[in-house]
């Protein structure tokens, strides 16, 4: 048994993992990062449209600040998120953008003078101020009141990932590529690292560390129609679930992106609509204003996706031989704009659809895109249930996004949470709690258990095929736990998934190749993915309300009275076929922005009894502090800066504010 030691083990080489690793290393800890693929190939690269940060440089961003960003984020989450975390996030996002700028991300910049943009289908001339010339510009995104999304054409994630990855190389942090963490080393109280499988030769190694951080991204591959990369199988969350003591939160909160090309499911950025693109139906009619007169195409993603599905159901979908879809029309943006600002979109249309988006409409239909839920952590990224275990990025439920995340907030979350959680990890390692006290007996026990899992699959010679079960699971999830949900369908889905879980214990491999046989890898992952699918579907079935992206036909209202709480799914006994669910209430008394109407979508929420009282308190505080500095008002309502590491607490400069 080979053992590799480090202070910090980061599982996942995407933006969140890399940034957390860098932050920990810069505070003096020795870091090893594990990655399924070379880090620059991570799914972070697929974030196209941009990253939200309230810089307020562009004309249409004027007046933006952390407060507006915070409110947009909370409304977007349908009041399902953690407001302190949202404050921490919106406060650090401008710092993250600026740091990335210094690290080489070629953010698009404000060009002083007149320019023509498309707003609401019509050309509008904007005059950017000379003061802002050369500062980072922003585009419009859904669910935001200001143009806040900083971007690098439509390759924002790529540029960010490369800059951060290059910095980790500069810092000499080793990234062990083509490695998959298959189990956490733990004793039920403290996490000591992970058992890791080499995806080239199939060998297992024990990585022992003072702190372990899971940053493995989302689990879109539970679904058939997803924008996610093929590596997004949620294994990081699954090994946390396997411990039996770490809960996964809000797994039913799944985002569906309105514009995935149909049928391939490849994402075309929200920037298409942000820059003026329109959604059209079979008749070429622009239908979103009929449903959302205020935000139109730029309501939040959950709302737009739902309206699109409803419109298709109303018989207004266009169709091709693969099924029904709608059209995304960006022809009105002009070839020049598409060639410069939407290049990847153009390439994708060209290669996968054989069309020129400057001339033809793009067939789109909503597809699974993001998992708001994940490993439940506190504001510092420490996972609940195991000391020494941390999580950040999409794998975590830090709970920035609640039940719907805004476009541009997730790629921002990766770096922001990486900065915050990485610092917290380093502080943990340096504290007495961080002392490494693991026994080799425990390591061996965890190692042998992991080995036995693989052995059980290879030696079982059962009759089930992993790839068939996987397809069945994906089809079930897309059909029955999708955008529009219903108790009956979800009940059926839970039953199907349970039987698939049982069948997955009877797999047979053709066993043609030793080492890292892709067939064995798939079979092993399938069992983990089925558990996650059950957390999603069972959690969704139990949540008898609609909130954000979780929409139920049979319970169409948001129900704050009963459901202003987070679902916590755990799997204490490996023999279970359903997760154990528990709930964690959100504390209205501490909310800076008490629940209300989002400003788009249906206005029919069932109010929580404490909402009115808290709203009155908030109003009173605001009235008492009228005329005070906005930071002072905010601090009086909900202090959060103490939760941030010291170097991230300072006020952000803007043109005309602290500049």
């Amino acid at each position: 048994m080979e053992i590799i030691h480090s202070d910090v083990l980061v599982i996942g080489g995407g933006l969140a993992g890399l940034r957390a690793g860098l932050a920990a290393q810069k505070r003096g800890q020795q870091v090893i990062i594990l990655s399924l693929v070379p880090p620059k190939r991570s799914h972070s690269a697929a974030a196209q449209g941009g990253m939200q940060a309230s810089l307020a440089n562009a004309l249409k961003g004027a007046g933006d600040n952390e407060d507006v960003h915070f409110e947009d984020t909370v409304r977007g989450s349908d009041w399902g998120n953690d407001q302190e975390v949202a404050r921490m996030f919106t406060h650090v996002a401008p710092k993250a953008v600026r740091e990335l700028a210094a690290w080489g991300v070629p953010w698009n910049r404000v060009e002083a003078g007149e320019r023509t943009v498309i707003i609401d289908g019509k050309p509008v001339t904007l005059t950017e101020s000379a003061d802002a010339h050369g500062l980072i510009t922003a585009r419009d995104f859904g669910g935001t009141r200001k143009w806040r999304t900083c971007y690098v054409a439509d390759g924002t994630g790529h540029a960010m990932l490369y800059a951060v990855s290059d910095q980790t190389i500069a810092a000499g942090i080793p990234v062990h590529e083509r490695r998959e963490a298959v189990a956490l080393i733990h004793d039920g109280e403290r996490c000591h690292g992970a058992i890791v499988r080499n995806l080239i030769d199939g060998k297992l190694t024990a990585y022992v560390a003072k702190a372990t951080c899971i940053a493995t991204g989302g689990f879109g591959r539970l679904y058939q129609a997803t924008t996610n990369a093929v590596i997004n199988e949620g294994i990081g969350a699954a090994i946390a679930l396997d411990t039996g003591v770490v809960p996964l939160a809000n797994m039913e909160a799944i985002q569906f992106h309105p514009t995935a090309i149909f049928p391939a499911g490849i994402l075309v950025t929200e920037g298409c609509r942000g820059d003026g693109g329109l959604l059209r139906d079979v008749d070429g009619h622009r239908f979103m204003p009929d449903y959302e007169p205020e935000k139109k195409e730029l309501a939040s993603r959950d709302v737009v996706s739902r309206r699109m599905e409803a419109h298709i159901k109303a018989g207004k979908g266009a169709s091709n031989r693969f099924g029904q879809h709608l059209w995304l029309d960006i022809t009105l943006l002009g070839a020049a704009h598409i060639n410069h600002k939407l290049r990847e979109v153009k390439e994708i249309c060209q290669y996968f659809l054989g069309i020129d988006p400057a001339k033809q409409w793009i067939p789109v239909r909503p597809a699974q895109h993001y998992s708001m839920g994940g490993i439940r952590t506190d504001a510092h990224g420490a996972a609940r249930g195991l000391k020494g275990l941390f999580a950040c990025g999409e794998a975590a439920c830090w709970d920035l996004h609640g039940f719907n995340r805004l476009g541009g907030n997730s790629v921002a979350e990766t770096v922001v949470s990486g900065m915050i959680v990485g610092a917290a990890i380093a502080d943990f390692c340096a504290s007495p709690d961080g002392e490494l006290t693991v026994s080799t007996a425990l390591i061996r026990q965890c190692f042998e258990r992991a080995q036995a899992e693989f052995g059980a699959i290879t030696n079982h010679h059962g009759k089930e095929s992993a790839s068939l079960l996987l397809r069945e699971m994906q089809a079930t999830m897309t059909a029955q736990v999708g955008i529009v949900r219903h108790g009956e369908a979800m009940n059926a889905a839970v039953n199907t998934l349970q039987s698939l879980l049982l069948r997955s214990r009877d797999l047979g491999l053709s066993g043609r190749r030793g080492g890292a046989d892709p067939e064995l890898t798939l079979a092993w992952r399938l069992q983990k993915m089925l558990k996650l699918a059950l957390c999603v579907s069972y959690g969704a079935l139990q949540r008898t309300e609609s909130r954000g992206a979780h929409f139920r036909e049979d319970y169409p209202q948001r129900n704050d009275a009963d459901w202003l709480k987070r679902t916590l799914a755990s799997w204490p006994d490996a023999g279970q076929t359903l997760p154990t669910l528990a709930y964690e209430p959100l504390d209205i008394a501490r909310m800076e922005l008490p629940p209300g109407w989002r400003g788009y979508g249906t206005r029919d929420a069932i109010e929580h009894p404490l909402t009115a009282g808290r709203q009155a308190e908030v109003d009173a505080t605001r009235a008492a502090l009228a005329g005070s500095d906005r930071h002072a008002v905010q601090a009086a309502l909900m202090p959060f800066r103490h939760l941030l590491p010291a170097h991230l607490r300072g006020d952000n400069a803007r043109l005309g504010e602290n500049a």
């Binding site: 860098l22 932050a23 810069k26 505070r27 003096g28 690290w103 910095q167 500069a170 810092a171 000499g172 900065m419 610092a423 380093a426 590491p645 170097h647």
Partner: protein, 280 residues
């Protein structure tokens, strides 16, 4: 070495707990590199320039040479005058064929230098040859295949040109309508010249094209369009000079056959009486 460089260039982060020592970067980077090893030699740059430069000079010489020998198509007398011009009788009072020898020697030297510089890029050994060869046939890519043609014609040129240059160095005075035509036909050199013509014009055309692409000359704003244009020019160059060369060579062959009976007789332009050329 790498470790030192890395520390020197480590990203500056505010959360660094123990404030790292930061260095004024550029000097530090250089010194950290130079501490561990001497700086990169300047010779690769110079040799690369020399390879291009020698090729360019040879190609320009080739062009000029072609035009000079093609004057035979206008008249025997014109070619005679051109040949005499290079012996610089107009400068020294007496023609100096040794000047032609000297130029030919210079060209030989340049040729050898160019060949040596270019050979540094050739496959070194069978393994590399096989790797490149497999690559070329797999890729089916124009410019890659052209390079191979360049290597082949380069080899051919090295030997063919040497023969021709030896003639020019050893018998510089024997350049004239009859003299040259006799060498071509009676001397049996035409097959060599024919091969030389094709090899030189193809090699020169590709070489000039490569030179432009390599250094980014005449490419314009749109590199792809620029390269297409250069490709057309390359084709036109080779076609023009091969045609001109063929016609010229035919003229010499024709003249050589007509003059075969009198082979060895020197040409005397009309109006000149002296048999001993240059002494009048």
């Amino acid at each position: 070495m790498r470790q030192i460089a890395k520390t020197a260039l480590a990203p500056a982060l505010p959360e660094n707990a123990p404030a790292p020592t930061r260095h004024a970067h550029p000097d530090m980077a250089r010194s950290s590199l130079t501490d561990a090893r001497p700086g990169n030699s300047r010779w690769p740059a110079r040799l690369d320039l020399l390879q291009s430069l020698s090729g360019l000079v040879l190609a320009l010489f080739l062009v000029a040479h072609m035009f000079f020998v093609a004057t035979i198509l206008i008249s025997h007398e014109l070619f005679y005058n051109v040949a005499r011009f290079f012996e610089a009788g107009w400068l020294f009072g007496e023609p100096q064929p040794v000047l032609v020898s000297m130029v030919a020697s210079g060209v030989t030297g340049l040729l050898v230098a160019h060949a040596w510089l270019a050979m540094r890029k050739f496959p070194g050994g069978f393994r590399q040859y096989r790797a490149f060869s497999a690559h070329r046939s797999r890729l089916r890519h124009g410019d890659t295949s052209l390079w191979w043609l360049q290597v082949v014609t380069g080899f051919a040129l090295f030997f063919l040109t040497t023969i021709h240059l030896y003639d020019m160095v050893s018998q510089p005075q024997l350049i004239g309508p009859y003299e040259s035509a006799d060498r071509v036909w009676t001397g049996g050199m035409w097959p060599i010249y024919l091969a030389l013509l094709f090899a030189a014009e193809v090699h020169g055309g590709i070489g000039l094209y490569r030179l432009a692409v390599k250094w980014g000359w005449f490419v314009g704003d749109d590199a792809n369009a620029g390269r297409r244009r250069l490709r057309h020019i390359r084709h036109a160059f080779s076609a023009f000079f091969i045609t001109l060369g063929l016609v010229t060579l035919l003229a010499y062959i024709d003249l050589g056959r007509a003059h075969a009976e009198l082979a060895g007789e020197r040409y005397v332009p009309p109006g000149h009486v002296a048999v001993d050329h240059g002494k009048h």
